[in-house]
Symmetry: C3
Subunit: 175 residues, 3 copies
């Protein structure tokens, strides 16, 4: 069901997570939704950010899974038809690169797992390529990998939305 | 009058200021407009940029106010119905952070002042969250605060426009 | 023929080059197209990237010209009516600045050459102004010059498209 899958792109603090949650809850139509968190709390700043995201979901009938690295496995283990939100692909990619895993293999496994899931799915990703070229070579490789992943998933899903200031611009499909 | 307020978002040198001025002059329909400049000339580069912006407005019937920090106060002091352009919110936020003021309190005061103004209003803001995560913690805090301010104001106003290469994409309302 | 010229804007790895090629091949309607490459291979990373772009075009009936600096001259030397893709303006601007040429004069010459070309033309450019203000003064000057060039060319052409995740948002004209 291609039209049931959505990629939500946006910058930092663009409101993309809040928008994605609202969209999935609408698509889920009352079914308990799975929230797959890819963030790893490496320091207090991250811990605070993760806690803030949880507060927003609290008591809204979400079930949270943490999958900083094995996101394809987490998707494969879901019950058929389960509505799922992935937040976010770009942090997962960061984790994959920092763990020195094979980026191409991981991205392929992710695409396969997303295609195989048969319920509503919303995946959040950062757009990171609209600033000046980073001086750091690792940051350039990351930027390239993140952009390629976004392009590949945009082909896979039925709906792609760019969020700025909490507001959607539809790039593919319809809201 | 919600529909009389506009948030113009865009990157550096995206043409957002020129677009915002044209939009306000249209909404102002001949009334003398107030231009609230938030820039502080800290060096020659800034001085040149400010001068360049003034040259573009010159002889077009604007009255300029400078409000690098007390932007809420400047808005509160305007005559009822005065058309006003704020350029820009992101520089104001920079000034607030550099002066070590309370960012949340300042942003709340700004939202209240914008909501209370009863004439046409166009506020310009930078979108700064679409590049690689900055290595500098202050830059990350600034990026978060700027993104949150943009989201909050986008809810407050009737019209939100993203400008790229001088051209508008409407995110909310209509042009 | 204004409507025959297109500016394609996007971030790094946004799919803008692939989109631009598809668009020009459609506009060219079977005529052999000229691909003007502005990249200079300064290191292995660049060489790999250039090679990757060539592989995508390979055997598709393109003729490649390299014009890292004299892009206006390369355009002026084309046969009348020749479909041409320029990839990309932002790398050309980088080369102009690194060679310490007069940026304003070079950009004016480019605009004149683009206006004078009488066949289908697609020019690719990076949007680089949507991140945090760079700490480096040269990067800020580059960002300003790139933004101004995009604005100026957007006025010159009949069609402007922003590409994210390989998908187009039309800013001017129609696809």
């Amino acid at each position: 069901m291609r039209s049931g899958k959505t990629l939500v792109l946006g910058g930092a603090r663009s409101g993309k997570s809040g928008f994605a949650e609202t969209l999935l809850l609408r698509d889920a139509a009352g079914t308990t939704s799975v929230y797959i968190a890819t963030a790893e709390a490496r320091d207090d700043e991250m811990r605070a950010r993760i806690a803030q995201h949880r507060i927003r979901r609290d008591g809204q009938g979400w079930r949270t899974l943490e999958a900083p690295l094995d996101l394809p496995g987490a998707l494969a283990g879901l019950a058929p038809g389960a509505p799922v939100l992935i937040d976010c692909l770009t942090l997962w990619l960061t984790n994959v690169m920092l763990a020195q895993r094979d980026v191409d293999a991981a991205c392929t496994a992710l695409r396969v797992a997303i295609a195989a899931h048969d319920g509503p799915l919303v995946a959040v990703a950062n757009e990171v390529g609209l600033g000046i070229v980073p001086e750091n070579a690792l940051a350039r490789r990351f930027r390239d990998a993140a952009g390629r992943l976004n392009q590949d998933l945009a082909k896979e899903v039925g709906r792609v939305v760019f969020v700025a200031a909490g507001l959607p611009l539809v790039l593919k499909g319809a809201l």
